[in-house]
């Protein structure tokens, strides 16, 4: 089966600019996750969707970050305006559902550098 797809793979922007990342999960996967991974740290969950509803967004900086998952398939994560500290790898993952023992499948990530 095809894996989780993300684009772009790399992005360089200046602070105060906006940027958007796209994720296409594995077909049939109801749950989609966006993580931020700063260099030297583990992935930090930003937002979790179940179909097109938000399950958890407690760690999403809502003053500048937004995410949507229209039609419960693809998802877009946006940052506006970007700050230097947003430089990180943004990982998208999906799972069949959110039940016990469910495995997450990760995309390759988008590496963002904010100058």
């Amino acid at each position: 089966e095809a894996g989780v797809a993300q684009s772009p793979r790399y992005k360089i922007i200046e602070k105060r600019q906006s940027v958007a990342f796209w994720c296409n999960p594995i077909s049939g996967h109801a749950t989609l996750y966006w993580y931020q991974q700063i260099l030297g740290q583990g992935p930090k969950l930003l937002i979790q969707f179940q179909n097109n509803g938000v399950v958890d967004d407690s760690q999403l900086p809502k003053d500048r970050f937004s995410a949507e998952r229209l039609k419960g398939v693809d998802s877009t994560l946006k940052i506006q305006p970007a700050k230097l500290e947003d430089s990180a790898v943004y990982l998208c993952a999906s799972s069949l559902n959110t039940g016990v023992g469910e495995t997450q499948y990760f995309g390759p990530g988008t590496r963002l550098l904010v100058l």
Binding site: Y33, P43, Q48, V55, A93, G101, T103, Q104
Partner: protein
């Protein structure tokens, strides 16, 4: 709030030596625990989960609720085990499960 602690940032061993990557968690309920691995230039992927009680690539991990630990072990390390290892915890919340990852341990196995 739940937390996952991986105390070692780097673990360096020689081929054939035993390996133990430590993971401690803080959560008052019954957790789900996982180990994920990221090999060089590859995606993060599941290595094993505690509910399966399985051995994958020679690795095992036992959940110790008394010590709130889920250490990853392998009796004889191989060079191909060199990778980043992340311990992850999932806790129930509002009908779903919310994941938390540790900061990761880089394992280097020398020939």
């Amino acid at each position: 709030a739940q937390r996952v602690t991986q105390p070692e940032k780097l673990l360096s061993v020689f081929k054939g030596a035993p390996v133990e990557l430590k993971c401690n968690y803080s959560y008052s309920g019954s957790p789900e625990l996982f180990w994920y691995v990221q090999y060089s230039r590859q995606r993060l992927q599941l290595l094993l989960r505690h509910i399966s009680r399985e051995s994958i690539k020679g690795f095992t991990a036992d959940l110790n609720k008394g010590e709130t630990s889920f250490h990853l072990k392998k009796p004889f390390a191989q060079e191909e085990d060199s990778a980043m290892y992340y311990c992850a915890l999932r806790v129930p919340s509002g009908g779903s499960y919310i994941p938390t990852f540790g900061r990761g341990t880089s394992l280097i196995v020398h020939p």
